[in-house]
């Protein structure tokens, strides 16, 4: 019962938070300096993690498919399979999962600590809004950074595949690149990138919600941080299915 109650509370709380973010976000002032700081902290600082994840994913994919398909004489399909998988799915999803782990946890623990030490109350007591000062800059930074990082991850992932194709599968870089360009369409690219805007919200909003609703002192901060990462990961993975389905339907119309 408590799981259902918590789920209802989470859904209601996140809906209210989303409404506050929209209504306060549309009213000036917009704290550009805070948004820039968050873009640096959320985006730039996550770049190494995203690069490593994307590179390894591309390399492993190329190796697995290359060695598997070699038996049937199909290793020339490796560039096609790897690039499509990365562009449509793995680049956006793995980037978002990494961001959920690094950024989601960071946001929840920071906001939770601020709540426990009454800094959130101090923001209110000084006549300012925690939504404007804390939540909106983080949400906007995630909406900007997650798609950008996913775009970089796509390139690096394909690059990783190319490296393995060249070094392990005897596919020349020119051949590999040509096959990638022949395979990927703008629709494939947009299908993957379109999802990242939703994934950004799946990371930022639960992270802020759990951080702002921490109770039970420092232990509560730890619990909220874990819950935030788990929630964001589940939302990304489950949401990915429905978003993929939705984008397929849109593609049929186009």
């Amino acid at each position: 019962m408590s799981v259902v109650r918590d789920l209802i509370r989470f859904m209601g709380g996140t809906a209210i938070l989303t409404k506050q973010v929209i209504s306060e976000g549309l009213r000036p002032p917009l704290y550009l300096r805070l948004i820039t700081e968050q873009i640096q902290s959320i985006g730039l600082m996550s770049l190494p993690l995203v690069l490593i994840t994307a590179l390894s994913t591309g390399m492993v994919m190329a190796l697995q498919f290359g060695l598997g398909l070699e038996k049937f004489g199909g290793k020339m399909y490796v560039p096609k399979i790897v690039s499509l998988s990365i562009i449509r799915e793995l680049g956006p999803v793995f980037t978002s999962l990494m961001m959920a782990a690094r950024v989601g946890a960071g946001i929840t623990s920071e906001l939770g600590s601020m709540k426990v030490t009454q800094q959130i109350d101090a923001i209110r007591a000084l006549g300012t809004s925690p939504i404007k000062k804390i939540v909106i800059p983080r949400v906007i930074a995630c909406i900007i950074c997650v798609p950008l990082l996913a775009a970089i991850a796509n390139l690096v992932g394909i690059g990783g595949g190319l490296l393995v194709g060249w070094s392990e599968l005897n596919l020349t870089p020119a051949f590999y690149w040509q096959k990638v360009l022949e395979t990927i369409t703008l629709v494939d690219y947009m299908s993957g990138m379109g999802k990242t805007f939703f994934f950004a919200l799946f990371i930022a909003l639960p992270a802020c919600y759990f951080g702002l609703n921490v109770s039970g002192g420092t232990r509560g901060v730890g619990v909220a941080t874990t819950t935030s990462v788990v929630t964001a990961s589940i939302l990304i993975l489950v949401g990915d299915y429905f978003l993929t389905k939705a984008f397929w339907i849109i593609e049929q119309w186009l």
């Binding site: 009454q118 101090a122 209110r124 006549g127």
Partner: protein, 244 residues
């Protein structure tokens, strides 16, 4: 004239009734001490005076305006006039002392950065904190953090200051510093509500005191009258005979 007027304040948390019909008022320039056992809900009342909590029933009048049902946006105007000093300072730990003090000035005034800088230097000097401008709160002692918290709260020149245990856990030197600052603000006509367990500070800064027990006001009186009834509940509380 009453600057703060609380009428029939009732508040519960879950099934726990914390306050039952608490009413009191604080006059212009007066310092009211709010004492009572731990968990008696003193801080809840204090937080409600600035809209950080909402009463379930009752009214809160600040400067004649009933604020208990105001929205966060409406409360901004009240929060410029009513300062809240948090028990642990509640300083923004990602900001330096300077930026903590500049926070409200940047938000609510049209002062230039130069004017803000002058104002902050003056404030730091008044609070004996000069030279700590670019230090982070975690690098300060507890007493200094509380002084910075007080300096930050009153930088807009509020009409009312609400103190939540400002001397708790401080050594006698820092306690005296905080008391002196509160008295200086009082001399300037600032109205105050002082929540504390620290009776020497109550005697030092308050004009009147209210005892909160079991969710109600059990006793109240002026500081001058405190010792007059040795068998009264107020004196028994102060002497540790009666509690929460």
């Amino acid at each position: 004239m009453a600057v703060i007027e609380v009428k029939n304040f009732t508040k519960s948390f879950g099934s726990k009734l914390v306050h039952r019909g608490v009413s009191f008022s604080v006059n212009q320039g007066e310092c009211l001490g709010l004492i009572g056992g731990s968990g008696a809900g003193k801080s809840v009342i204090l937080r409600s005076l600035i809209g950080l909590e909402k009463p379930d029933q009752g009214e809160i009048h600040i400067d004649g305006e009933e604020i208990s049902r105001w929205t966060e946006r409406q409360l901004v105007e009240i929060r410029k006039r009513v300062a809240y000093v948090f028990q642990n300072g509640a300083l923004f730990d990602s900001m330096t002392v300077y930026d903590n003090l500049a926070y409200a000035l940047r938000e609510h005034t049209d002062l230039s950065e130069g004017e803000i800088s002058d104002r902050i230097r003056q404030q730091l000097e008044e609070f004996g904190l000069q030279g700590n401008d670019f230090v982070y709160p975690s690098q300060l002692s507890g007493g200094m953090q509380k002084r910075v918290g007080l300096a930050r709260s009153i930088i807009l020149g509020p009409k009312v200051v609400l103190y939540d245990e400002p001397t708790a856990g401080l050594d006698p030197y820092n306690t005296k510093k905080i008391q002196d600052m509160i008295l200086r603000l009082k001399d300037r006509g600032v109205t105050s509500v002082f929540v504390t367990h620290d009776m020497p500070s109550v005697y030092a800064v308050c004009d009147r005191v209210i005892l909160l027990l079991n969710g109600q006001i059990e006793a109240s009186g002026s500081i001058a009258d405190l010792g007059k009834d040795p068998e009264g509940i107020m004196q028994r509380f102060i002497n540790g005979i009666e509690g929460a």
